[in-house]
């Protein structure tokens, strides 16, 4: 009844014991309530005056209040427990997401990740609250009620006992059918959720293709498909509720009729009969409650499964290696590095190279040659299948090392600009930077004109949905981040200027070069003019380093580099 996954939750056993205790009390008050009400009604039926019934009515009211007080207490207990657990799960989920980074998010979809962290966990919280409350009540209340009914009239007891497993069997059979359907529905739901957001994201592309208006039909159709999927799940899901409803209500009717017939015979008296009749809805109430919320709990259960899947993504245990700060004497050796994307033909094979001190290393190659993959490996976002990596004499399995990443600044083609003030964006790596420092960074990277244009200067909100920036401006912000954090001595550039116009590129280059001094630089590009600034050049083609050396060496060798640059220039 209770998912095994839940039993691994902290303190769950204590909570269960408490809930079972409260359920026992609840059953006692339900019994009292029924007996005293039946007593009062029987006496009135027998012609006694109302004034003689006050004590029974008083007891009835007491039991009735007690029952609902217990319920109140129970709800509070469940709320606080499930809230704590939801918080714990959310923390674990987000830690995982932020630890795994882009690869996980790309696989799951940004929308899914955020929905899961917010809505998904809320659903789990609800699920926890419902399942604990309903299942503990179901374990105790019906059986105590049944015992009393049995004592009053064993025949009704037998009937009610026999009908119960019948109901449960129906529920399980139909529940399985519903579960199978719900599993499919969850997938459809995810598809739909992504489909709608996906369509909104690509809405400009749709417009250019002249499809955006017609595509509305696809939105509607997908939504209608979702409706049909949901309805067919619901038909089954509430079919089990229907069967339950049907059996319980009919059982009450049957109990009433049987009691009526035996009352006519005189084999039973009104008081026990009335008590049994009053109690029988309460006998079935827990199981009805349980199934009423059953399909609401499915959402939570599914969400919990999805969350657990993410939580189960293996964190390859990194044996942390403490690395000294990179300086002009440091040495990095990479030999026999192999890497392949899962299920893709792209790979890097047998890379060997060295970096010493504050070298500037250019990585040149055509797009798709593996430049970005190499930068991602160096950043620790990807882990090589095998490699011998040695930094300052220490052997590493990959670059996913806190001590290494702490020294990095990564500047991709499209640096992400947060929806925050310009100042916060610039000071992202150095949040404690002073205004003077930020202003200096602005000057160094040439953002003064932008700052002057912004209504609130440095404190203007930028980022998606706020004020859009040009590619050059975003690049400058990334540079300013690098400038502010001088303790990071390693710069990774991944085609930073490829998408900029030549004039902007030239301006940016002027700003970038001074920042590169006294840094170890890895600069992936296909723009030849950068090679003049590099101390060492790796020429990459189809996942292999086909040539490496200084610019002068490479130009002399008339090898791959010369060929590449000739073909680049021939156009």
């Amino acid at each position: 009844m209770i998912d095994k996954k839940l039993l691994t939750f902290p303190r769950i056993r204590l909570v269960l014991v408490l809930l079972l205790g409260l359920a026992g009390l609840q059953a006692a008050s339900i019994l009292g309530q029924a007996c005293f009400l039946a007593k009062a009604i029987t006496d009135l039926w027998a012609g006694q005056a109302l004034s003689e019934q006050w004590q029974w009515i008083g007891f009835f009211v007491l039991c009735y209040l007690l029952r609902h007080l217990i319920l109140w207490r129970k709800e509070d207990l469940l709320d606080s427990y499930s809230r704590q657990q939801a918080q714990r799960l959310r923390q674990e989920l987000l830690s995982k997401v932020f630890e795994q980074g882009p690869s996980l998010i790309q696989g799951q979809g940004t929308g899914n990740v955020t929905t899961m962290a917010l809505e998904g966990i809320d659903q789990v919280e609800k699920y926890l609250r419902l399942i604990l409350a309903k299942s503990t009540t179901m374990m105790v209340v019906p059986w105590l009620i049944l015992a009393v009914i049995w004592y009053l009239d064993w025949r009704s007891g037998v009937f009610l006992l026999i009908i119960y497993p019948l109901i449960v069997i129906f529920m399980i059979v139909l529940g399985y059918a519903a579960q199978a359907k719900a599993d499919r529905q969850y997938h459809t739901y995810q598809l739909l959720s992504n489909h709608f957001v996906d369509s909104l994201r690509g809405i400009d592309t749709l417009k250019y293709l002249g499809l955006s208006q017609r595509y509305a039909r696809s939105i509607f159709k997908t939504s209608e498909r979702f409706r049909r999927a949901t309805m067919s799940t619901l038909k089954v899901a509430i079919l089990s509720t229907f069967a339950l409803d049907f059996f319980t209500t009919l059982s009450i009717a049957v109990v009433a009729v049987l009691l009526g017939i035996r009352l006519v015979d005189g084999t039973i008296l009104l008081f026990p009969a009335l008590t049994i009749l009053t109690l029988s809805p309460d006998y079935f109430l827990p199981i009805r409650d349980f199934s009423n919320d059953y399909h609401a709990t499915l959402d939570g259960k599914n969400a919990l499964t999805a969350i657990n899947q993410i939580l189960a993504v293996k964190t390859t245990e990194i044996t942390k290696v403490s690395l000294p700060a990179w300086n002009d004497q440091s040495q990095l050796t990479i030999s026999q590095l192999d890497f392949a994307y899962p299920q893709q033909s792209k790979s890097l094979q047998q890379l060997n190279f060295q970096a010493i001190g504050f070298q500037k290393i250019g990585i040149i190659g055509l797009s798709g040659s593996g430049k970005s993959t190499l930068i991602n490996l160096l950043g620790g976002f990807l882990k090589p299948q095998s490699a011998q990596i040695k930094i300052a004499g220490q052997e590493l399995a990959s670059f996913a090392q806190p001590d290494w990443q702490r020294q990095l600044i990564y500047i991709p083609q499209n640096p992400y600009i947060f929806r925050a003030s310009l100042r916060d964006n610039i000071a992202f790596y150095q949040p404690q930077a002073t205004t003077a420092q930020v202003e200096q960074a602005v000057k160094v990277v040439g953002l003064e004109r932008l700052v002057a244009q912004l209504p609130a200067g440095l404190d203007t909100q930028i980022g998606e949905g706020a004020r859009a920036l040009s590619g050059g401006q975003a690049q400058r912000i990334a540079l300013a981040r690098a400038f502010l954090d001088q303790s990071r001595k390693i710069l990774l550039f991944d085609e930073p200027t490829a998408h900029l116009d030549i004039e902007t590129e030239v301006e940016l280059k002027e700003r970038m070069l001074p920042l590169m001094t006294d840094h170890l630089v890895f600069f992936a590009t296909h723009r030849l003019h950068w090679m003049q600034e590099m101390d060492w050049i790796l020429v990459i083609d189809q996942g292999k380093i086909v040539e490496q050396g200084t610019l002068a060496q490479l130009q002399q060798q008339h090898g791959a580099f010369v060929q590449l640059s000739r073909s680049l220039r021939s156009v």
Binding site: L118, E464, A468
Partner: protein, 582 residues
Amino acid sequence: MQIFKLFKRDSWVRPFLKKYRRSLILALFLGFMTYFCAAALMFNSGYLISRAAALPENILIIYVPIVLTRAFGIGRPVFRYAERLTSHNWVLRLTSRLRLKLYQTLEQDAVFFKSHHQTGDVLGLLSNDIDHLENLYLRTVFPTITAWSLYVFIIIGLGWFSWWFGLAMLLLFAIIIFVFPLWSLLANAARQEQQKVLKNQLYTELTDNVLGVSDWIFSQRTKEYLTAHLANEQHLAYVRQTLQKFDHRRDFLVQVVFGLLTVVLLGWTSFRFPGSHGGAANWIAAFVLAIFPLVDAFAPLSQAAEETNIYQDSLQRLNQLTLTESGQPPMDQTIPALKGPLTLEVQQLDYQYPATAQKALAGLSLTIKSGERLAILGRSGSGKTTLAHLLRGDLKPTAGQVALNGVATWQLNPEISQYIGVLHQSPYLFHTTLSNNLRLANEQATDQQLWNALERVGLKQLVAKLPAGLATEVDEAGLRFSGGERHRLALARILLQNVPIVILDEPTVSLDPITEQELIETINQQLAGKTLIWITHHLQGLSLMDQVVFIEDGRLQMSGSPQELAIHNQHYQKLLAIDRGI
């Protein structure tokens, strides 16, 4: 109450109410019958056993109650099942309409969509507002109307026995039906508002930061962010806790009122139906037992009312969206299809974005003849992209005109896509198969045509190597493919689209020069005879163009054939030198 006022002006939900009215009324009727049968079952059973206890001489006397007991026993589950299916189906139909409407509203503004909405906001709109409206019906509107009709029925029924008791019950039930719901609504409005604001903030903030995750990892500030996020989360949890506490207390009080109702009913029936071992006293159990099933109908009303606070905002936000988003009104008159060679004529074009001080484009004149290949050069921010929007008619000129064979392009929308195709800076790949992505451009395209197009953009080999070929699923935003590959796939779409004029809005920026050059050659070969308008800031491939124009700060600076410029223009010469590299 505000929700009713909102509902009056609403253009999101009300129109659909009329559309599916019959199933709406059916759902409400079925809801009423469910509770009616439930109460009737206990009423009848109570009478049955009391009557039986009075030892009737003949079993036939209780025959009718016996039959009725069974009928009500079966009626309740049947009505309930039907009611739930009907109401859910109705609500989901409404949801489809709402999603469609949301999409259509945003579609009007599609090209500029990204700068107006943060993706997280739209997600919030989607999953909160529309889902909330779903729940508004399932959890509030249906149960409330059902309960009200039961209330009317009960009061009239009891009033028939005794008008003063009917009046007393009218008041007692009113506590449950009106007082508690109203109290819940008013007492929690502020807290719920706060809860909602916090939740929306969390959505926006989380989306933003999930998108920028690599920077968090590199800056090694993830702990800091997570702590901040969880603190916000906890704040939300606290507000929620207060709300839950209120609810539990109120639910208890509602039950107390029901207890009171039971006692009052017991008292009244003992006076109204006096008897000894039967007679009128048989009715006592009937009336008293019937009250318990009714708790299910009335107790949830307060919670339901409280929730309208959430829906109110959703309704408001969606309605506001309609007002602010309406871009160009759709053209009513159909413009006859343009025939013959298409000439784009730009005359004294001015464009100024709303709420900006400077003109983005000023006094621009250009003629682009059919089959001409024109390059528009300029640095980013110079107004090139604005010009592209104006050429395609996505923007309406502030002054001057852009006309295609004499018809203003902004009036041609959406038919313009039959004449002008766009390959823009960030082509989007949808989260579906490759072939679906390509077929967006031409639904009738055969697999062979798709492979052809892929071959022409140089992707045939790559796609052939993919495990599922054309049926390969594209990840979110096409991240499986490199920037260059994404652009090439988009070009394949353009090739499939087959339009006479193609605007290339810096499409090749992320390609390396060799591929870029090859691609430009492909474009020139494959699109030979078509008008090409190539917006660029690279010099690659300019030699293939008939004419080059420079735009700076929204004005035309120089123009000429590439050969002329290379000989006579210093600025152009300087740029060429940089582009050459070493």
